[in-house]
Symmetry: C2
Subunit: 272 residues, 2 copies
């Protein structure tokens, strides 16, 4: 590769790091890529590290030694993510969004990739230090959130289907009781979609009693997998008892009154 | 904001532009943000423009005048995207992936956010010059592709459901005949999910005869919307007659032999 000036190198390295989060990049990779001395590369990285830190984009961790290199860990400080979530709470707290069964219409908000990416970055910050192999979600509305989180954590995604029409070879199906309406439902996952004994992060858009999440946990037992964390975008605080105790929520519904069409939306337990 | 040195400014502007594709950013935004002269900002942008071009990231278009500014248009040259797609074709062309009904197991490949983002960037390049309001897909496996494309085009996404259990208020449902197995199926979309007369780009993961895509087109007529483009990741070339004629495909299945478990996977019509 042609020798780049420092200015061009900084632009190139910035974009290179941003699309490779949680990946160890040896300094030699950059040195060869730009035909530059490692000492120059180190100076460049110090500049990038400072800007990433000041902008709240995340950490640039340098590992010394022969197996060393640099790793970009996306992390949004809570001081940055709280105002973003408060804005979303205000947008959600309108009567027209209340649906029958105390659900909430959020598809418009979750239809914006910039919102989805920001939420994904917050989940990736919350779970950055866990040892995870794969992110799991259940169709449909959790899928974009799971992929956004996975992109910032550099992990693959598996999608559980809400039926047993899986056309992907042999599958494991379980029945679960949706905690809110007590209906028996089915979810399934193709055998080959998940390695045995995987370490899993569950991501979903909405949790009431937690029946769906508990269903995913039961399904994961069939794969002898370990649940390392659970992240839900919005939880309903209206539930007397959650089936799932240990989870991270970014927003919380309170005082849902379907009859008088009123609702309060507050930041979730991540900000407690 | 504190005055940044050129080196730090370049890092900051690069990340700022990358997460704001297809958005016009006035030079004054940068000038105020970094407390710098517009002439300095213009010099910075020239450096970034050259690197983005050389790296195949896309164009940095500068619009002069009072309403002027700069706009990042992600565009992957075909010379860069073809080897990427050829790699995927090789990965897909293994007998174990052939499913009953001449479908193909692709969930593992489509489970990687980096693959999804690359495909999204290719679709965004293919449709960069169209006037589009919104991207539409149908659950389940097209969703990550639709969001990835939408992120690079700075557009919202609407998801069509494959049933009529839509809990999002009044909805429009249509029946359609899946072209491959002639079964009658239902798809639906909440009224409030899509403005009347929207200009729509349809994105999906797989197309055989095109029944599902034709179904989405029929559904869109109920919203008096216009279909501006159709992008499918993989098409099956085994079909005598496609219901949909005008589409962009990135890969194509040929010679699917379920009995002898063999298949050929070639780059799609985008590369013709």
């Amino acid at each position: 590769m042609k020798k780049l000036k420092r200015s061009a190198r900084l632009v190139e390295m910035t974009q290179y790091l941003l699309v490779r989060p949680h990946s160890l990049i040896p300094l030699t990779t950059f040195a060869e890529r730009y035909n530059s001395a490692k000492s120059s590369i180190s100076e460049d990285l110090a500049i990038i590290k400072e800007v990433f830190h000041d902008e709240g984009l995340g950490e640039l961790n340098t590992l010394a030694g022969a197996a060393g290199g640099v790793k970009f860990i996306p992390k949004t400080p809570k001081a940055v993510s709280l105002p973003f979530i408060e804005n979303i709470c205000r947008e959600l707290a309108v009567p027209e969004r209340i649906l029958p069964g105390e659900y909430m219409y959020m598809s418009d908000v979750l239809g914006h990739p910039s919102v989805i990416n920001e939420i994904g970055k917050i989940f990736a910050s919350a779970f950055a230090d866990l040892d995870i192999d794969v992110i799991m979600t259940v169709e449909t509305k959790g899928i974009p959130l799971a992929y956004a989180t996975a992109a910032f954590l550099n992990l693959p995604v598996v999608i559980v289907r809400r039926d047993n029409r899986v056309t992907e070879g042999s599958a494991v199906s379980i029945n679960y009781v949706s905690g809110s309406n007590k209906r028996i439902q089915t979810m399934s996952l193709a055998r080959r979609a998940l390695k045995e004994e995987s370490k899993v992060l569950i991501i979903d858009d909405f949790m009431r009693a937690g029946g769906t999440i508990q269903g995913m946990k039961d399904l994961l037992q069939e794969f002898r997998a370990t649940v390392k964390g659970v992240g839900v975008f919005v939880e309903s605080g209206e539930v007397e008892e959650h089936l799932v105790e240990d989870y991270v929520s970014l927003a919380r519904l309170a005082n849902v009154d379907s009859r008088n069409k009123s609702v309060t939306v507050l930041p979730g337990n991540y900000f407690d």
